[in-house]
Amino acid sequence: MAQTFAEKILAKKAGLSHTVPGQIVEITPDVALSHDNTAPIYGIFQEMGGRRVFDPEMHAIFIDHAAPAPTTKHAENHRVIRQVVAEQGIENFFDVGRGICHQVLVEEGLALPGEVVLGSDSHTPHAGVMGAFAAGIGRSEMASIWAVGSLWLRVPESMKITVEGQFQPGVTAKDLALKVIGDLGADGALYISVEWHGEAIRAMSLSQRAVLPNMMAEMGAKNSFVPPDEKVIAFLDGRARRPFELVLPDEDAVYAQSHTYAAGDIEPMIACPHTVDNVRPLSQVAGTRAHQAFLGTCTNGRLEDLAAAAEILKGRNVAPGTRLVVIPASSQVYLDALKAGYIEIFIEAGAAVESPGCGPCMGNHMGVPAVGEVSVSTANRNFRGRMGTKESDVYLASPAVVAATAVAGEITHPKDL
């Protein structure tokens, strides 16, 4: 029986020959991801009567959402997490400064093909870039995994997105993701497993590919998958924490929906306030005044993203009246960017370069906007109030557009600088 990726991997993990959409299976994940919310999860775990976690090796815990701590309250939360990690003997713990959970999970060789990652964060699908089945879950569900090691999952329907041809210069995975979300809507993939196929996807770097599953949470997807190929295997060589086995969908698998895009037709896109599916071609909003440009996040804070921005910022200055905040997604990205000279370019251009983590993405700290201000960001979400105040506008775009906007002080296509 031909199966999609989700049907096949969930069957494998549940010890069944096959599964069908709608079926419920009991799964022991390979990775249980939690971040600054680890302390409240631990509270529920204790309420359930939990004393020792089911398997300390399953856990990957990160302090990234408000890190380093902006207030004493946050610092107390971090203290509790460090205590839990020590008490429970959890080795995969990444403290303040290491970077954003989804990025670091991949860098550390903990997101592996053919494995299941469950995380108490809505952008957990990110790990699908390595060929894992990765889905977000609630806090009580995570606490239950801590206690008994498994959770039920519904086998999702699958959607196949095929992208053929080549992108025009300057068009990125971010533009593709925004285009698809704009077309299909914020509920376009509700509970669905979204697979990315086609020549344009295979041609992308891993860094570009990662944007796609990362952003599928904004379309309601349960998980999203990029078929692992030789690029993934080369990346994992000497890095993977465990031996792994690829799980690939069958050629003749049945999809609930299929969509095909021609890469060459896609132009730079931007998501306008206050929903991610309010997407327009960049040309329609060019000229909008921007007070802050933010380059970072799990979506677009990798070396390649910083390189694209540095190319534009080299020898230029951030416009008076506009701020540029740069936050590398991880300490590894920071070091690499430093060696490549990008950090120097940013600082010389007048940017504030900050410690790896989520920063102002969800309004915690390190660059939240003032009332009435407009931010242009490389993040994945622009809901009203997302960056702190409800009285501000957030636009989402690619790193090059964010850099060009910082230079011009208004939303700008890099070619128009």
């Binding site: 009567g49 939990g50 239950s144 509700l190």
Partner: protein
């Protein structure tokens, strides 16, 4: 537990959590026992007054879309609703249902066939819905989910499982 029998309350597509449990009560009503009286208040005011334990809601596509508020499930599970049968569920709503021991069954064919007000039977372990128009199959719920139902929800289920492990 595995047999459900009750009257059908049939509704349409995209019924959102705001009409299932109005937002204005989300921060004022926190005792689960008080929740059933507000269930579906903005969709069908008769429902809360007339529904009986075991009754079944039949909905269209995307049942429970909108906010993640768990009260939109608890106001029905606390009233001992038998099940919700829908063409599809919003993801978080669906998980909240099963974690609060309320059967949520996806069966588009049955939704089209079932008439409002008729009495139907659902056999959870056999995976069958029996109504006037015939018998419709859905993939049976596995033991793990049935165990969550028997325990009365995920938190209670995990607590019991840990207890048993300690004693065992």
């Amino acid at each position: 537990m595995s047999m459900i029998r009750g009257r059908v309350w049939k509704y349409g597509d995209n019924v959102n959590t705001d009409v299932i449990f109005p937002g204005k009560y989300t921060y004022t009503v926190s005792d689960p026992k008080e929740m059933p009286q507000y269930a579906l208040e903005d969709l069908d005011p008769r429902f809360a007054k007339e529904m009986l334990p075991g009754d079944v809601i039949v909905g269209g596509t995307n049942w429970g879309c909108g906010s993640s508020r768990e009260q939109a499930v608890m106001c029905l599970s606390e009233a001992k609703l038998g099940a919700i049968v829908a063409k599809s569920f919003a993801r978080i709503y669906y998980r909240n249902c099963l974690n609060n021991a309320l059967p949520a069954l996806t069966c588009p064919e049955a939704v089209d066939a079932i008439q409002n007000g008729e009495t139907i039977e659902i056999d959870l372990s056999a995976g069958e819905i029996r109504c006037a128009a015939g018998i419709f199959d859905f993939p049976p719920l596995p033991e793990a989910v049935m165990d969550i139902f028997e325990a009365g929800g995920l938190i209670e289920y995990t607590r019991q499982k840990l207890d048993a492990d300690k004693r065992g």
